[in-house]
């Protein structure tokens, strides 16, 4: 029967990647010299499992690579080798190599065997470094069998099998062994019962029988001794070759084997020394870069508790539904009371169910935070800085999509703090600060949002430098009226970077605006604040879930639209003196010190009978998106409520200016506005806009 092992592969990969994380965290915690026994053991076990699984499921390269890591770890956990920082670093790098090997195996791409071989050599060098014997030679000498060249033709074997008295206590059954022997060929046996004691002294758990067994088939001696492998130490065993009826002396048969073993040992020892340099023949399939097959959607681990409570709630819902169903069958106004009761129960259960289901897609943000200890460790040693990372609120639960998409922006922000924020140790001491800088990553739930903060105690943002750069790049015309905070937020503008040198880590000036856009796409917002000489703080707010939105309904003509609440700054009634036509920009209105464009909703969406066509008659909803602000000219404000976001793409197609749609209580469809998109759309339409009279 052959079983398709591929069905176990997914679980193997999942647990292997988890194992790698355990190894990495453990290695980062380890201090050279004294190694906590449980810590090393868990790292060892993780490597051991990966090696075992890889071998079992056919990923031999992975298994071979992991074997060397496991050997090193084994020596360290046994105390045969002291833990050095050199070894820890080599193992950390090996974790990276292994991760890539596993990813390539999972995606079906070519493995980077050169890199693996190079890293293996590093590990082997450490292993060979202080004389702890390389295992390779030992392995070679183990598996040598002494099949003698028979001097005469062997026709069978005589096996003398005398199990020790306690053999049964090992769970081995002599009859089972004899049965196995019988599978090799015909056997004749003679049982020796001479050792059976009197019933009075007979121990029922002991074994007193022995056999002489004749096997009349010329099989390999190895096949016979294999059968007795497990009970080697629990019996007296002799396997004697027979020619016809004659026993052949064992000594004659054995001698050639001795010289053979010496020769084999030699060749085995030289093999590992040879470098495995295989010329790269055909072009290899490129290793998966971000964007190809690597897992994005995939699966999610959910606490069975969450599933159970979900099942409960659905149960309640079904009860309520059938109750309402019964009411409906035979309804009259006298039962209105009961109907209302049922409906409010329905509302309650639906809301509970909704909250519960959202919970399922939530994962602790530690999934995203987990990469940072390593990042900070590596980058700070690369830069020669001393930096401590504190992570607070890792248990905070966040939607799975947020976890996937917030990672890269956070990495960029933390790298910035590492690179431009925290100063070199000498500079810090000179400034009266502790030599080790601190970066804090904090996650919390506040008022229906997830708040992620990055604090550093570095040198803070340089207001003047930012301002001069912004003026130089033409990002702003005049910075005289800007508050400190507004100046700091200039760094989010595209093409902005005050780094003197574009370092490898950050400074290309494409980072911050992409970060902000990514956060907007998640429906969130980002703020930055700073105190010169003391540090900076970045605060990111994200909605609790991506499937539901807090929205403000607005009416234009007969149509209802939803404006995401998070984009709304305020709503005002425009006064005539505030509104102007500006050449080339269309209509604008003045809000405090800024001139913001007016977007005539009925024009942009082609609505035929708006209630108001004069800006000053209707309402202006001031919104912000992607760094810009504008005013939406609408007829009326309706209520604020939570709406369920339905995808337009899957149900219809992309609609410019809208990010999705929702179904209102009366069954009609309302588009959810995408503010940045809307602004882009209206800018495209400005020439017409300009021609129409206000």
């Amino acid at each position: 029967m052959s079983i398709d092992m591929a069905q176990f592969h997914q679980v193997f990969f999942e647990e292997s990647f988890e194992g790698l994380d355990i190894m990495e965290t453990g290695l980062l915690h380890m201090q050279p010299g004294a190694a906590d026994s449980e810590e090393i053991n868990s790292i060892f076990r993780a490597a051991h499992s990966i090696k075992g699984g890889a071998g079992t499921f056919g990923f031999m390269e992975v298994s071979n690579f992991t074997h060397v890591m496991e050997t090193l770890l084994d020596e360290m956990r046994d105390g045969r080798r002291t833990v050095t920082s050199e070894a820890i670093d080599a193992l950390l790098q090996s974790v990276d190599v292994l991760r890539d090997l596993l990813t390539a195996s999972q995606d079906g791409n070519d493995l980077d065997t050169d890199r693996a071989a190079a890293q293996k050599a590093v590990l082997e060098a450490i292993l060979a470094g202080d004389g702890t014997a390389a295992e390779a030679v030992a392995d070679a000498t183990e598996s040598l069998d002494s099949t003698a060249a028979p001097l005469q033709q062997i026709t069978g074997w005589k096996i003398v099998f005398r199990p020790h008295q306690n053999i049964l206590r090992t769970g081995n059954d002599p009859y089972r062994i004899i049965r196995e022997l019988s599978e090799l060929g015909e056997i004749r046996s003679h049982c020796d019962t001479s050792l059976l004691p009197d019933l009075a002294v007979f121990e029922e758990e002991d074994f007193y029988l022995s056999w002489e067994i004749f096997l009349d088939t010329p099989v390999d001696k190895q096949q016979i001794s294999d059968i007795f492998d497990w009970v080697e130490d629990e019996c007296d065993l002799a396997i004697i070759p027979l020619v016809g009826e004659v026993e052949v002396s064992e000594e004659e048969a054995i001698t050639p084997a001795v010289t053979e073993t010496a020769a084999v040992a030699e060749t085995a020892a030289t093999e590992p020394a040879k470098a495995t340099v295989t010329p790269v023949a055909a072009a290899k399939k490129p290793a998966a870069s971000a964007g190809s097959k690597s897992k994005g959607g995939g699966s999610i681990r959910v606490d069975t508790e969450k599933i159970d409570s979900l099942i409960n709630m659905v149960g309640e819902l079904v009860i309520t539904q059938s109750m309402l169903g019964m009411l409906g069958e035979d309804f009259d106004m006298s039962r209105v009371e009961k109907l209302n009761e049922g409906l409010s129960q329905l509302e309650r259960h639906t809301r509970e169910l909704q909250e519960s289901v959202m919970q399922i897609r939530m994962l602790p943000i530690s999934f995203t935070f987990s990469r940072f200890p390593r990042l900070v460790h590596d980058l700070s040693s690369k830069m020669g800085k001393k930096i401590e990372l504190q992570m607070i609120g890792e248990e905070t639960e966040v939607d799975k999509t947020v976890i996937e998409k917030i990672g890269d922006p956070l990495v960029h922000l933390v790298r910035n703090s590492l690179d431009h924020g925290i100063e070199m140790p000498a500079d810090r001491v000179a400034a009266g600060k502790p030599e080790t800088g601190t970066i804090q990553l904090i996650a919390s739930h506040k008022g229906g949002n997830i708040v992620i903060e990055i604090h550093d105690d570095g040198k803070g943002l340089d207001k003047n430098k930012i301002l001069s750069k912004a003026l130089e790049k033409g990002v702003i015309a005049d910075g005289s009226n800007m508050s400190d905070k507004q100046i700091y937020e200039l760094i989010f503008e595209p093409g902005f970077s005050t780094a003197d040198q574009i370092s490898d880590v950050s400074g290309r000036g494409v980072g911050m605006d992409v970060v902000r856009r990514n956060i907007y796409e998640l429906g969130g917002s980002i703020e930055i604040d700073s105190r010169p000489g003391q540090g900076s703080a970045i605060i990111i707010r994200l909605p609790l879930t991506l499937a539901i939105l807090d929205g403000q309904s607005i009416r234009v003509g007969e149509e209802t639209y939803i404006v995401p609440l998070v984009s709304i700054i305020e709503s005002i009634q425009a006064k005539p003196e505030m509104v102007n036509m500006v050449a080339g920009k269309g209509e604008t209105f003045k809000l405090r010190d800024e001139y913001l464009p007016v977007i005539r909703m009925h024009d942009v969406f082609g609505i035929e009978n708006p209630r108001f066509t004069r800006v000053t008659d209707g309402l202006l909803v001031v919104v912000e998106g992607d760094g810009g602000k504008c005013g939406l000219f609408v007829d009326e404000l309706l209520g604020q409520h939570q709406v369920v976001i339905k995808s337009l793409e899957t149900n219809y197609g992309k609609v410019e200016g809208a990010s999705g749609a929702t179904i209102l209580g009366d069954g009609s469809v309302a588009l959810i506005l995408d503010i940045p998109d809307l602004m882009r759309l209206s800018r495209k339409m400005i020439p017409e806009h300009f021609l129409k009279s206000a």
């Binding site: 052959s2 183990e142 206590r169 769970g171």
Partner: protein, 120 residues
């Protein structure tokens, strides 16, 4: 039909062993480490136990020693899953009372052949 207790901290190995054995008609109970296995052993009847060696909370060899102390497991075949490069482990296992071992990595057919030999 025989009931087997399969112990391994790796889910993929447990799944593979379980699937293989169930496919051959055996009943299988899984445990994630020695502690889990011991508690399941005390409330169930098993014809054979197959266990990994390296596990958290209680390793395979300690498990074997503990199982042998239970009257129901005095003569039960207890098999270890071990890697080929650890002969000391085989010795330690035997000292603890192991019946025998299966060398990792193994394929399902090897597993079944060994189990069949032991259980008949």
């Amino acid at each position: 039909m025989a009931t087997i207790l399969a112990v391994d901290d790796s889910a993929s190995m447990r799944q593979m062993v379980s699937f293989t054995l169930k496919g051959a008609g055996y009943d299988v109970v899984e445990a994630v480490d020695g502690v889990d296995a011991l508690s399941k052993a005390q409330s169930g009847a098993f014809n054979l136990v197959i266990t990994d060696v390296n596990m958290p909370n209680m390793d395979g060899i300690t498990l074997i020693a503990e199982l042998r102390k239970l009257p129901a497991f005095k003569f039960t075949p207890l098999l270890m899953l071990t890697t080929e490069s650890a002969p000391e482990k085989k010795q330690a296992g035997k000292a603890a009372g192991a019946t025998g071992w299966i060398v990792k990595p193994f394929n399902p057919d090897q597993l079944l052949a060994t189990i069949k030999k032991v259980l008949g």
